[in-house]
Structure formats: structure tokens, C-alpha cells
């Protein structure tokens, strides 16, 4: 019996008069891959922003363990074990790959600023230990060749992967991925899907995923939530969602059928 890890209940979010999320409810089970899909402007990213503490919903709660994330200070959320990636990659462009990942070890380092400046005792020990940890992630994601490249100079696909690595460096229990496959070709998507599955299977990380590519979503997720105009219009396993008439009408529509026809040859 798997337990609920992240419980989103009755979330409503507005900006001024613009209501972005209406009364959203769903539960993410431990060790699952949970996809959020829906048309653009449906509020998917806003929902992710609520979970990661970037937005503060006016109503509702998001329970994670004994914490209500909507009331947890933004900087306290990552230390609880919640990491994320961004729709428009948000790396530290002036740092190299290693330092980008090391920067994510921030919350795991106990050195104070004076120790940092002296580079003595705990600071030195921690830097070396964490460096080892980070190098393992780099190896796992197969980006060793670009370890010392400044990330601002790297191509899009690699930056997406470094960003995944940075999220992993937090050692999260929940990983929030905002369109990890956007702008990739089928080949690159396969790689990314494999990494996501590896992270899920080998490290036991629970994954919440926003993605437009229905192929990816249907293949890898355990549960799917469908949003439209800020409301939840469907929920269930990929098969249930795929055949839900409401979902088809609002979102999947013809596009879904088109890809099937092409697939049939």
C-alpha cells in the first residue's frame, strides 16, 4: 500500500481579478510518476509554482509530510526535498556545469560564511565531499565532457540535462519537471525519458511532470491530472484519461487522433 506523498487540496490562485486556478485537488502517491497535462494557459506551471513556493495560493493547502507548502517560506521548500526544473531553463549561466550542480548542494552544506572564507575545517571537507556527490550525478547524466564548460555557452539540449542534474543534486524526494521535453526531437526525447525513468526507478524519486508530448506522458506516467482553464477536468491512469470524453473534447481533441492516424501509416 503506497502512501500519499504530496496532497494538493482545494488550491485556488488569482492574480488580481484573473483566476488562474480553481479549487484543484489531487494526490501524488509515493514513488509514482504523476503527469499534469492541459492546454496552454490552463494553469499547469502556476500549479507547479504553488508547490515549489513561488506563488502563494489564496485558498487551499499542499501537504507534504507534516508541512503545508503553501505556508512554508520559499527557501525552506527545497530543503524539504522538493526540487524542480523550469520551462525556460533557469541555470546559472555564468558558472560551469560542476558549479551549477554544486550550487544546488547549498542546502546540504552546513559551513557558515566565515568558514567559507577561511576554507578551513568543515568548509574544505564539505566542498570535497559534495564535489564527489556532484561528479556522480554528472557521470549518471553522461555530461562529463562538459563538466568545466560555462553553461551559458552550451546548446539547449545539454542545458536541459544540466538543469535536471542540478535538481538531482538537491537529493529530492519529489522532482517537479516543467516540460522537460519541450523543443526536443524524438531522439532527444527518448534520452530524456530514459533519464527520468532511471531517476524514478533507481533513486526512488517521485516525479511530478508537466508535458505536452502525449506519447511521453501516456508511456511513462502512473497517474495523469488534466487541467483546463484552471480547473481539473480529468484524472486517472493514462488509459482512463485517454478515453475520457471530457478530456478529449477539451484537450486531446483531433491532434491525438491525428498522431494515431500517422502512426497507423
Amino acid at each position: 500500500m503506497t502512501s500519499v506523498l504530496l496532497d494538493v487540496s482545494n488550491i485556488s490562485l488569482s492574480f488580481g481579478n484573473n483566476r488562474v486556478l480553481h479549487d484543484i485537488n489531487f494526490a501524488v502517491l509515493e514513488h509514482s510518476i504523476h503527469a499534469i497535462i492541459g492546454p496552454n494557459g490552463a494553469g499547469k506551471t502556476s500549479l507547479l509554482n504553488c508547490i515549489s513556493g513561488f506563488y502563494r495560493p489564496q485558498e487551499g493547502s499542499i501537504t507534504f509530510g507534516e508541512h503545508d507548502l503553501t505556508k512554508t517560506p520559499t527557501t525552506q521548500i527545497a530543503p524539504l526535498g522538493i526540487a524542480r526544473t523550469f520551462q525556460n531553463i533557469a541555470l546559472y549561466t555564468g558558472l560551469n556545469t560542476v558549479d551549477n550542480l554544486m550550487a544546488a548542494r547549498h542546502i546540504h552544506m552546513k559551513q557558515n560564511s566565515i568558514q567559507s572564507m577561511l576554507y578551513w575545517g568543515r568548509a574544505k571537507r564539505e566542498e570535497i565531499e559534495n564535489r564527489r556527490f556532484v561528479e556522480e550525478i554528472i557521470d549518471f547524466l553522461e555530461i562529463t565532457e562538459i563538466r568545466e564548460s560555462i553553461v551559458g555557452t552550451l546548446p539547449y539540449g545539454l542545458r536541459k540535462r544540466i538543469e535536471l542534474g542540478r535538481a538531482l543534486a538537491l537529493e529530492p524526494t519529489v522532482l517537479l519537471l516543467d516540460e522537460p521535453m519541450a523543443g526536443m526531437n524524438a531522439d532527444e526525447k527518448e534520452d530524456m525519458a530514459r533519464f527520468v525513468l532511471d531517476i524514478h526507478e533507481r533513486k526512488g524519486v517521485t516525479i511530478v511532470l508537466i508535458e505536452h508530448d502525449m506519447g511521453v506522458v501516456m508511456d511513462i506516467s502512473d497517474q495523469v491530472v488534466v487541467l483546463d482553464f484552471g480547473r481539473k477536468i480529468g484524472e486517472g491512469t493514462p488509459d482512463e484519461v485517454k478515453n475520457d470524453p471530457g478530456v478529449i473534447r477539451a484537450y486531446l481533441g483531433e491532434a491525438h487522433r491525428v498522431s494515431e492516424t500517422v502512426a497507423d501509416g
Partner: protein
């Protein structure tokens, strides 16, 4: 507080604020079109004042040995022409090559320009403060008698004395400000500037000649700065110090919000007001603090209400 002085200082403050508001407008204009915080604007103001002084042949006492002795109005036109050329040259030769550089580099270029303008002005016109050939006698005043209320004169007030020159500068500043706002809001050139200010590459992609827009902004800023310089000089004469006085426009625009003309005007008025109102204090240190009062004010505002009074909230996304 020395209450007797309050109404007097209030009016003087507002009137001083008019000129500040106009100077602030020039900074906001450059910022809106090209996202450059022009720290050299104060020096453009100073240069404008010197140019008018120069073309008008100084005051009657200084006139001997000056190459020009144009009537005041002509001197203003000549000064504005030079200021426009300076503005265009600044854009063309320093800021255009900097396109695409980070914020800090651009701020520094304008700081470098400020130094360059200061040095050049000293070189050309000397270090001594000058009298300004103002068309208005700075000693003439307008006296407003405050009528007694209910047959009783108010305890601390019977009249307000306003320098005529201050009233004139205020009116000129406000008229100039209104013209520029209308221009920006309702003309196509204004739309070009507004579009360019948001996204240069995008503006280029829709066929806007972006360098021309920048040039135009700098030219207009040159005009505004010169007018501001004239107004300041009419009140306090011509000297290198005008640049520092004009720097107070920065707190003013932050107070009003960096992107709003209306805000810049209101900010200018408030800063002018605050700088005069402290003079009504009974504490000597506060009374002397006119030069820093705007900065203290802005510090408080930055802590309490940072987006200023009219600044737009950023549309922030991740």
C-alpha cells in the same frame, strides 16, 4: 517644525520640483526607449546651461571677450541645437556600440560620459561659476496675501512670497512635460519608442529602425536637459554644481517609478517639496539636510514601497 515657514517652504518646494520633474522626464525617456539609466543626464543639464550662457555672451558684466552675444531666445535655440547634436553623438558613438551589453556596462558608460562631459565643460568654460543672462530679474517676487479667515489672521501666516522666476520655471516645466507625454502616448514615433523600449530585437523584426529610435530619444533628451538647465540656471546661476543638483532627479524618478512619466513628474514635485520642507525644521542638522533629504526619502521608500508610486509590477514568470 517652525510652522511659520511651512506654507512658504511648501510653495517654494513645489515650484522647485517642477524643474526637477522635467529633468527626471529626460531620464525616464531614455530609459523607456533604450533601457539605459543615463547617469550623464545631470551633466547634459549642466552643459545646456553653459551653452546658453556661452551663446548669449554671458551676463552684461561678463560680456567683454565673449565670441557671441546673441539675444536670449536665439541663444536658447543655438544651445538646444548643440545639445541635440551632443545627444545624437553620445548615442551614435558610445551607446550604440554597447548594444547588447549588460546593465552594469551601460550604467558605467553613462558614468564615464558624465566624467567626460564634466571635464570638457571645465576645459571649455572654466571652473568659475557664472551669472546667467536670465530674462527674468531673479529678485522680483510675487506676494500672495493670505486673507484672514473669519476675520482672524491664521496664527502662523499672513503672506507667501514667491520668486517670479520660480513661478515661470514651474510653468515652463509643466508645459514641456505635458507636450512630451502626449507625444509619447499618441504619436507613431511614441509607439516606436514604446515598442523599442520593451524588446530591441523584436522591434527590429517588425521593421522599426531601432538605432534611429535611440537617436531620436537622445536628441529629445538633449532638448529636455537644456530646458532643465536653463530653468535651474535662472534660479541659481551656471556652475559645474548643476550636475549634482540634477542628480537628485534619480531619487525623483524612483519615487514615481522608473517607467512612468506621470510618476517622474510627481516624484520631482515630491523631492522638490521634501528638500525645501526640511528647511522649516527647528533642528539645525535637519535644516542643513536639504541636499541629502531626497536620498533619505528614497531609502525609506525603497524599504517600504519599492515599486514607487506608479511603477508597473513586473510580469514575472519562471
Amino acid at each position: 517644525m517652525n510652522w511659520i515657514l511651512v506654507p512658504q517652504q511648501f510653495m517654494t518646494g513645489i515650484l522647485n520640483g517642477g524643474t526637477l520633474a522635467l529633468i527626471a522626464l529626460g531620464i525616464v525617456l531614455i530609459y523607456k526607449s533604450s533601457e539605459v539609466f543615463n547617469f550623464a543626464h545631470g551633466h547634459m543639464v549642466m552643459l545646456g546651461a553653459f551653452l546658453v550662457w556661452f551663446f548669449a555672451g554671458g551676463t552684461s558684466q561678463e560680456a567683454s571677450g565673449m565670441p557671441f552675444a546673441l539675444p536670449f531666445g536665439v541663444a536658447v535655440v543655438a544651445a538646444i541645437t548643440v545639445a541635440v547634436l551632443v545627444g545624437l553623438a553620445i548615442e551614435r558613438f558610445t551607446l550604440r556600440p554597447m548594444t547588447g551589453q549588460p546593465l552594469l556596462a551601460i550604467i558605467l558608460v553613462t558614468l564615464g560620459l558624465a566624467q567626460l562631459l564634466e571635464g570638457t565643460t571645465t576645459l571649455l568654460f572654466g571652473t568659475q561659476p557664472k551669472g546667467f543672462p536670465s530674462p527674468i530679474d531673479s529678485s522680483s517676487v510675487i506676494t500672495i496675501e493670505v486673507p484672514p479667515i473669519n476675520g482672524q489672521s491664521i496664527v502662523f501666516l499672513d503672506r507667501i512670497i514667491l520668486k517670479q522666476v520660480l513661478v515661470v520655471t514651474f510653468i515652463v516645466a509643466i508645459i514641456a512635460a505635458v507636450i512630451f507625454i502626449l507625444f509619447f502616448r499618441f504619436t507613431r514615433a511614441g509607439l516606436r519608442m514604446r515598442a523599442t523600449s520593451e524588446n530591441h530585437e523584436l522591434a527590429r523584426s517588425v521593421g522599426i529602425k531601432v538605432p534611429r529610435v535611440f537617436g531620436m530619444s537622445w536628441a529629445i533628451a538633449g532638448i529636455i536637459a537644456t530646458i532643465g538647465g536653463i530653468l535651474l540656471a535662472m534660479v541659481s546661476g551656471v556652475s559645474i554644481n548643476l550636475a549634482t543638483v540634477a542628480l537628485v532627479a534619480f531619487p525623483a524618478i524612483l519615487l514615481g517609478g522608473l517607467e512612468s512619466f506621470g510618476g517622474a513628474i510627481l516624484g520631482g514635485l515630491i523631492v522638490g517639496l521634501v528638500a525645501e520642507m526640511v528647511k522649516a525644521s527647528t533642528v539645525i542638522q535637519v535644516r542643513n539636510s536639504a541636499e541629502i533629504a531626497p536620498y533619505v526619502l528614497i531609502l525609506i521608500v525603497l524599504i517600504i514601497r519599492p515599486e514607487g508610486l506608479f511603477g508597473r509590477k513586473r510580469i514575472e514568470r519562471v
